[in-house]
């Protein structure tokens, strides 16, 4: 009797070993890097399975942006091995904060193949983020930059809008974004990202959401941090905070699909001062 019990026990162990053996390839050994966002701590090992469920088709198993589907995607998926990220709160050339990346995963990137992953529980998003950070050694050798300070937005006035318009003209933003903000400036066809892929300037006229968010603060951040890996530089060394806010107020006038005080002020002004308004880019 004892013999049969022992035999049965050994049989059970053998089956358990078999199951464990089959499950082994699914086990994950990703190295954790401290990752914190939204009050949660990421776990790269948990994130690996999630990454392979949700992200691998575009970003690839190696995180190099060369997933099966990447060849059909425009713009191309982010290459995590380079650790160059566009939508940051940190100065140009620095790593983003975990919260920056978490916000991008949550928000998605409008008008691209990157959807909003808000349907996933927050912990899953932080876990994926922790795993993404294992693709580049930069995360081990560098610290994220210090987020820039965004001063309070001054009141929106027609004067602010007009100063912003002047900056848009003088800084030659229109050369890429076009005089009406349609993303059709004379330089637009020549633009490429740092991998040589053609890239389109943002079309303010038809766009309602920015890829970095929807608020004026999000727009402000773009001037001051730049979009690393794209031709959009940081103007932190050129623009003073009030200038940047003026530019924000003007750019809102280029968005007929988005209701804003800037747009209302500008429409009223244009009705009464049409003869004084010089076309953007004229004579340059």
């Amino acid at each position: 009797m004892t013999r049969y019990i022992r035999t049965a026990k050994n049989g059970v162990w053998a089956v358990l070993l078999l199951i464990a053996g089959l499950a082994l390839p699914a086990a994950t050994f990703a190295q954790d890097l401290a990752t914190h966002a939204d009050g949660l701590t990421g776990n790269a090992a948990e994130g690996k399975l999630l990454y392979r469920r949700f992200c691998v088709g575009c970003h690839g198993i190696e995180g190099n942006g060369e997933g099966d589907n990447a060849q059909w995607i425009d713009p191309k998926p982010r290459d995590f091995t380079e650790a160059t990220f566009r939508w940051r709160s940190t100065p140009t050339g620095t790593l983003p904060t975990d919260q920056d990346l978490y916000d991008t995963i949550t928000r998605g990137v409008v008008d691209t193949f990157m959807p909003s992953w808000e349907p996933l529980p927050p912990q899953w998003r932080v876990d994926v983020l922790a795993y993404i950070k294992t693709f580049s050694p930069k995360w081990k050798t560098e610290k994220p930059g210090t987020p820039i300070t965004i001063p309070p937005e001054p009141p929106t006035t027609i004067e602010s809008v007009l100063r912003g318009r002047e900056l848009f003209n003088n800084m030659q933003c229109w050369k890429c974004h076009g005089p009406e903000g349609r993303g059709d400036g004379p330089s637009a066809p020549t633009l490429t990202d740092d991998k040589g892929n053609p890239i389109k300037p943002y079309d303010f006229h038809d766009g309602t959401r920015f890829r970095c968010g929807t608020t004026n603060e999000d727009l402000y951040k773009i001037f001051m941090t730049g979009l690393d890996g794209t031709p959009m530089p940081s103007f932190a060394d050129i623009l003073k905070p009030n200038d940047a806010w003026d530019l924000v107020h003007f750019l809102r006038t280029l968005q007929p699909l988005v209701k804003s005080k800037s747009r209302d002020l500008w429409v009223e002004y244009a009705k009464t001062h049409a003869s004084e308004i010089k076309p953007i880019g004229a004579g340059q």
Binding site: R3, R6, T7, N10, G11, A14, V15, L18, G21, L22, A23, P25, A26, L40, E46, L49, L50, R52, R53, F54, V56, G57, C58, D68, N69, W72, I73, G108, V109, V110, D111, T112, F113, M114, P115, S116, W117, E118, P119, L120, P121, P122, Q123, W124, D127, T208, R209
Partner: protein, 477 residues
Amino acid sequence: MASISFETRTIKVLSGAGVLLFLLAIFFVSPKPARGIPAFARKYGLPCSACHITWPELNNFGQVFRDNGYQMMNERDSPITRDASYFPITVRITPQWHMERANEQLVDSVPGDGTSAPLNQSVTTSGFDLSGMDLWFAGTLFKNVTFSVLPSSDENASFHFENAFVRFDNLAGSRWLNVKVGKFELDEPVSEKRLWTLSGNGGFYYIYHFLPYGDANPFGGMGDNQLGVEIAGHSVNSYTRYAFSVLSSDDGQPGFIYGGTSNPTGRTYDYYGHFEQGWNTSGLGGGFLKVGGYVYYGFAPTYYQTSGGASLYGIGNEPFYRAGAEIKYYANKWVFKGVYMHAYDNAYLANGIPSNSGPLPAGAQAVVWNGGFAEGQYIVSPQWVILFRYEGIRMAQQANTAINSNQSNMDAFTIASRWNPFMFSRAGLAIQQEYSVVRSNGVTSLGGVLTPSACPATSNSCNVLSQSLFFGFDFDF
């Protein structure tokens, strides 16, 4: 010594079996593996696993996508944003081998002689087979205007419209207001159309279709797609959802004919409502929990207005309802689902008696039962999922007091493995193994419908055991 050899031999045999299983797996896997829509994967460039636990079962990301009207809400949803060659079509079919076995079946003692004395016997059949085929067109007609047309056939290519609807999404700019018109799956607590178990006894949820032995209600069940209009809404992550439908009382059959019959209807409407709420959790892998409730309240005719003897439309419409609650938990690697149902059929419906025929016969009464299922899934990898499900139904009140109290009680167990050898955004192939067994009292369970067995209705202990073993290659493109 003999004992050691015996044990060693046992382990060797088990190890050998393991190696054989492994080699078989490699053999089958080297070339990848229910209702998913690769047309969407192709449109948005996402692998099946982005929207599905394993296709066709939706995860929450897929649920949000569906709730948004098959839109990512990324300004690339309208067909005008896609190459003109993009065509939203999906085909799905499942070549398979399966075995079906049921005991307590009535057979003729002399094969071919219908007049010979009947015998109780087990019946076993097996062989290679095909599933039905889906040919599904679905997508957006315009931003925030969604369509779906699903001609679906049985295994002999006899087609019907499984669904066909148009949906107007985000009305008044609000995700809380979406309107769907046509034939569609109800917003069920757990979708049966997206169930990935496929065997003869495990390929459906019994509670969605169950009718006790003798119940004459023609309603095919909540699991059937229905004709009507649905108003639905959801929060940004679909943790909070609601749906309310007004449906023709025809079980989804077009032409004012009650589904599954040739009888006319067309005089009443059914109503269905479902609400669910979810919460993030901090433990158990940081997943999320959803709870909800649902009610289906319907009518079915018990006799007909005639002209020259021919039925014109159903009258004597009597009520029935199905109501219950669900709980679902989604962790990183685990999914748990539980659904409870309480069901009631009016006495005239349950006994098949026209409601204008006067008082009910002695013993006739409404039929009432309770049921539910609990299902667990383990996500071994994005490509491999294992499932276990238990489902039980218990009669609370029979249609007639002469029927034994446990007649039609049933228990069903299903275990299944589904493996996708490859996973990308173009097509899907799943290699599936499944075993299901159903024990029912006094009746045989086939497709959620109970049919008479050799067991007498007065028996208290006649359990019919129906088993299915299934190996299939489920693919869609």
